[in-house]
Every structure is written in structure tokens, then in C-alpha cells.
């Protein structure tokens, strides 16, 4: 009541102004009302709960990202695209991009294949109650407990060309003196293999969980119809888990861009850039040649590539979310 009285009093002085003041006052009172409702119904609760995560993402994620983009185009306080024009003509950059593509491809194909075969073997083994398959499958997540650094060092020792156990065992097959990490042809394959060793158990676990979600009744019905195991696999299992497999492939691609430690410790990107992915190149430019501006430009290009893949992933994620989950 009193709120509506105020503008009326002021009409005496100036008509035009009052109208404005009136609008202003009602807006304020609207806001006030909203605010009291906000407090009384505790509508602030979700925002309050999100406070810390928003703060940490802004400070430790968004700000560094912007900082990185800016430092790629500003050198000594002046705007310049020199870093990007250098990028376009730098053969090492295009080579690193190609190595990254190869790495991502072989890593994804390899880890999906090995993860899938292992999961299938465990699943069939457990279903038929083959003795020992349970113990074997419990070993499977073991490399997850081994830090990247330790895994890299052990493989480095085993792949040692002169004293390593792998070359010793291969010598019985008549293969002598393979340079696993120091020959340009083999190094990338070795690096991919160690990366797969470290993380394929995760894929196995995920695919196993996917197998378990296929309803038993489907198989029972197929059994009654006289479908063979192979038919059941192709017509029941595969279509049922196709969605999660697509999801897993996309996720693996996105994750494989993140791999750094194993490559760095095994080869540092060598020999002759043979294993230098974009991630390794960023690090080398920034902390070996101390060219942070150029490193940032490479980082931005990697960001764009990962962003493009992520858009695909997000699109797929939204679609499956709409269909009611992945499994």
C-alpha cells in the first residue's frame, strides 16, 4: 500500500519524472519480492551448493584457458599473430599433428579390440563357470594401481635393447636386437602398446558391465528358437551394447589426446620427433625452448581439435540421455 503511495506524492513536482520513478519503484519492489521469495523458499540452495565448484572452475580452468589463448596472440603487450603464421609453416607442427592422429587411431583401435576380446573371454568364462576364470579376471584391473611413471619405467627396462628381457625372449625366435624405442619405425608402436597395457583393463570392465545389462530372457528365447551362440552374439549382444560401444570409442578418442606421461618418459617425443604428439610438442616448446607464446599457439590448435571431437561426443551424449541413459 505504502509503496504505491510514494509516486503519487511526487506528482505535484514533476509529472514526467514521477512516471519514471513509479516504474523504477515497482521494479525495485518486484526484485525485493523475488528476493524474499528466494530466501523464504530457500531457492538459493542450489546456487549455494554450486558455489565452490563454480569458483574453482572459473579460477583454475576458465581463467588459465583464457590466459593461454591470450598469451598466444600477445607478445610483449602487443597483439600479433606471428605465432600462428609460424605454426602454418612449421613442418614439426604438421608432423606432430600427423603423429597425434596416428597415436589416437592405433591407441583407440587397439584398446577397444583388446578390451573387447578380454571382456568377452571373461564373460563367457564366468557364464560357463570355467575354473580359474574368476581369479584371472580379478587380475585384470591391476595395472590401474600401477602409476604411469612406474609402468613406463618397467617397460623401459624390459624394452632395453641390450639387457631387456623382451629382446632376450625374442632371440629364441630368431629376432635379434630390436630397438623398441630408439628406431623411428618401432617407437610409436611401442609407445601405443605401453599406453594400452596401462589402461585396457578399464575398457574391459566397462564392456563387461555392458554385457551384464543385456537381459537374460533374450538369450533364453533365442535358445528356444535354436539360435547358435554365434548368432546370439551377432543378433542380440552386439546390437544391445552398440550404443555404449560408440560412446566408449568417442570417449577413448578424447582421452587419448590427454596422454603425456608414458610417451614423455619412454621417448620424450624422439627419436627424431617420431613419437612427438601435440601434447609433447607443447611441453617441449614451453619448457625446453622456453617459447611459451608458441607453445600456447600449439595448445590452442590442440584445443580446437579436441573441441571438434568433443562436440561429436556431446551430441551423442545428449541423444542417448534423451533416450534414457546409455545402458
Amino acid at each position: 500500500m505504502s509503496r504505491s503511495m510514494k509516486p503519487v506524492n511526487k506528482t505535484i513536482f514533476c509529472e514526467g519524472m514521477t512516471i519514471k520513478m513509479g516504474i523504477f519503484n515497482t521494479e525495485i519492489s518486484n526484485l525485493k519480492e523475488k528476493f524474499t521469495r528466494f530466501c523464504r523458499n530457500e531457492e538459493y540452495v542450489p546456487y549455494l551448493l554450486n558455489l565452490l565448484i563454480v569458483l574453482s572452475i572459473v579460477l583454475l580452468f576458465v581463467y588459465p584457458l583464457i590466459y593461454g589463448v591470450l598469451s598466444s596472440v600477445y607478445s610483449k603487450g602487443e597483439f600479433s599473430v606471428a605465432n600462428y603464421s609460424r605454426l602454418l609453416t612449421d613442418r614439426n607442427f604438421w608432423h606432430a599433428l600427423w603423429v597425434t592422429v596416428l597415436y589416437v587411431f592405433f591407441y583407440t583401435v587397439g584398446i577397444m579390440f583388446i578390451g573387447f576380446v578380454t571382456a568377452l573371454a571373461i564373460d563367457v568364462g564366468e557364464e560357463r563357470k570355467l575354473p580359474g576364470s574368476k581369479i584371472l579376471s580379478s587380475f585384470l584391473t591391476l595395472p590401474y594401481a600401477i602409476p604411469d611413471v612406474v609402468g613406463s619405467l618397467v617397460w623401459l627396462w624390459m624394452m632395453n635393447p641390450r639387457h631387456g628381457i623382451i629382446n632376450y625372449l625374442l632371440s629364441f625366435l630368431g629376432i635379434e636386437g630390436l630397438k623398441w624405442l630408439t628406431s623411428g619405425d618401432l617407437a610409436l608402436i611401442s609407445v601405443v602398446l605401453v599406453g594400452i597395457w596401462r589402461l585396457f583393463p578399464m575398457h574391459t570392465l566397462i564392456i563387461l558391465a555392458a554385457f551384464k545389462t543385456v537381459p537374460r530372457s533374450l538369450y533364453e528365447a533365442a535358445d528356444l528358437d535354436g539360435a547358435s551362440t554365434l548368432q546370439q552374439f551377432f543378433y542380440i549382444t552386439l546390437p544391445s551394447i552398440a550404443n555404449i560401444m560408440k560412446f566408449l570409442v568417442l570417449l577413448t578418442v578424447v582421452w587419448s589426446f590427454k596422454r603425456f606421461t608414458i610417451i614423455w618418459l619412454l621417448t620424450r617425443g624422439g627419436p627424431m620427433h617420431a613419437t612427438e604428439t601435440l601434447a609433447i610438442m607443447i611441453y617441449t616448446e614451453a619448457f625446453k625452448f622456453f617459447d611459451r607464446g608458441y607453445a600456447s599457439a600449439i595448445a590452442v590448435s590442440l584445443l580446437i581439435i579436441v573441441g571438434a571431437v568433443s562436440v561429436l561426443y556431446m551430441k551423442f551424449f545428449k541423444e542417448s540421455e534423451a533416450e534414457g541413459g546409455l545402458l
Partner: protein, 278 residues
Amino acid sequence: MSGKRNVHYRKIGIYFILFFMAIAIVFPIYWMLLTTFQPTSQATAYPPSLFFKSFSLDKVIEVLLDTSVIKWIFNSFIVALGVVVVNLLISVPAAYSIARYKIKCNTILLFVVLVTQMIPPAIMVVPLFEIFASVGLNNNLLSLILADSILTLPIGTWILIGFFENIPTEIEEAAIMDGASKMMLFYRISLPLTYPAMVTVAILTFFDAWNEYMYAYTFISDQSKWVGTVGVASFMGQFLTDWQAVMASSLIFSILPMLIYIFLRKYIVRGVSEGFAK
């Protein structure tokens, strides 16, 4: 008849795959043990022996006494513990908020959290290094705790969201009848129900923080503040490498996560499968 033989072949095939995989997984770990616990002359001899011939603790003792390995592992422990605490403090309330309140702001937040998980740390390392240096946090373990927390935040939030969503709303509705405020619903009702999920998140976070190398290698130059990953990797010499010392320190550094793995494996498996089952 042919069907029976077929089943037989299949059985052999399955065993072969499982056996081969188990060897591929376990052999490097076995080789680390073998190199560590043999007398030096045998451990690095060529041709190498595939089996234990004699047992020796000499190298382990040497590494423990003559190097800072214990100090580095202690630093790793501090960082990992810090990351677990920070991560839970941040992700638990946020996950609850995202699971319970389907408002637009939360949809955006979930999207951003998923995006942070896709960005390679190599993109973040240069700006983070310069930002930490500018606020005097370089050579400080706190910089690692902060940087690692962002890395582990998404997986923690993701698992917890699934867990909060599985809590039946009837429990909260009953509490509302009794006049509980919204904050109390979170703090008194839902939070205690998620302790098991928090254990899973804590373990996965701990592993990730224990495993982190790039940030630690970059942000910390003071040798007494190195964490385990950097310290162990430093055993690898430029020209001459004492492989037995490398394996011994690697083994010492892996003991804690391996113990956690052996005793709390079910939490890890559950975390992985539940994170995806959502």
C-alpha cells in the same frame, strides 16, 4: 559329435585369451619384483633368468637409506590426501545440487564439468605454471593440490550425481513434512547415505593424484618437495641407469596404491561400472 569338439575348442580359446592377457598384465609387475629382490649381479646379468635364484633386500635398503624416496612418497601422500579432501568438498554439494534441482544453471554446470574432463592437461600446463608463479605458488605442494583437483573433479562429480539420483525422493519428502530446511535435507538426510560413493570417489581421486606426473614435474623444482612420480623418474639417468635402483624405487612407490587396490578393489570396479551405467 562335431558340436562337442567345437565347445572344446572354444574352451581352449577362452583359456588361451585369459591366460595370455593375465601374463601380459602381470609379467611387467613380476619383472619389477624380480629385478628388485635379487642380488645386483644377478638382477642385471645378461642373459637374464626368468625365475628367482636367490633373494636379496640389499637394493631396497640402499634406496630407502641413501635417497629421498621416503620423503617424496610422503609428499605424494600429502598431495593425494589434499586432492581427495578438496575434491570431495567441491564435488559433493555440486553433485547433490545437479541431481536434485533440475534448473537451467545446473544443466550448464554439468556441461562445463564434462568439458573440463576433455581438455588435455598439456593445454593447461603452461598457463597454470605462469599463474602459480605470479601468485608465488610455484615450488609449493598446494599448487599441485589445486591443479590436480580440477583434473579429478569431473569423475567424482559424475559418480556422485548418479548416486544422489538413486536416493529415493520419498526419504526427503518425509523430512520436508517434519519441517526440514533444504540445507538440512542435503546435510542430514542425503549426505550420510552417500558415504559409500564418497569412498569410491576418494579412492579414484587418490589414484589419479598419486599418478599425476606432468604438473608435478613442472611446478616443483625443489628436490625436497618433489612427489614420488618425479622422484622415481629421476632415477633414470641421462647416460648410465642403475636399473635395479629404478625398479626398487618404482616398487616402493607402488606399494600403497597396490595395497589399496587389493583391499578396496570392489569400490574401484563399482565406481567404473556405475559411472558408466548411469
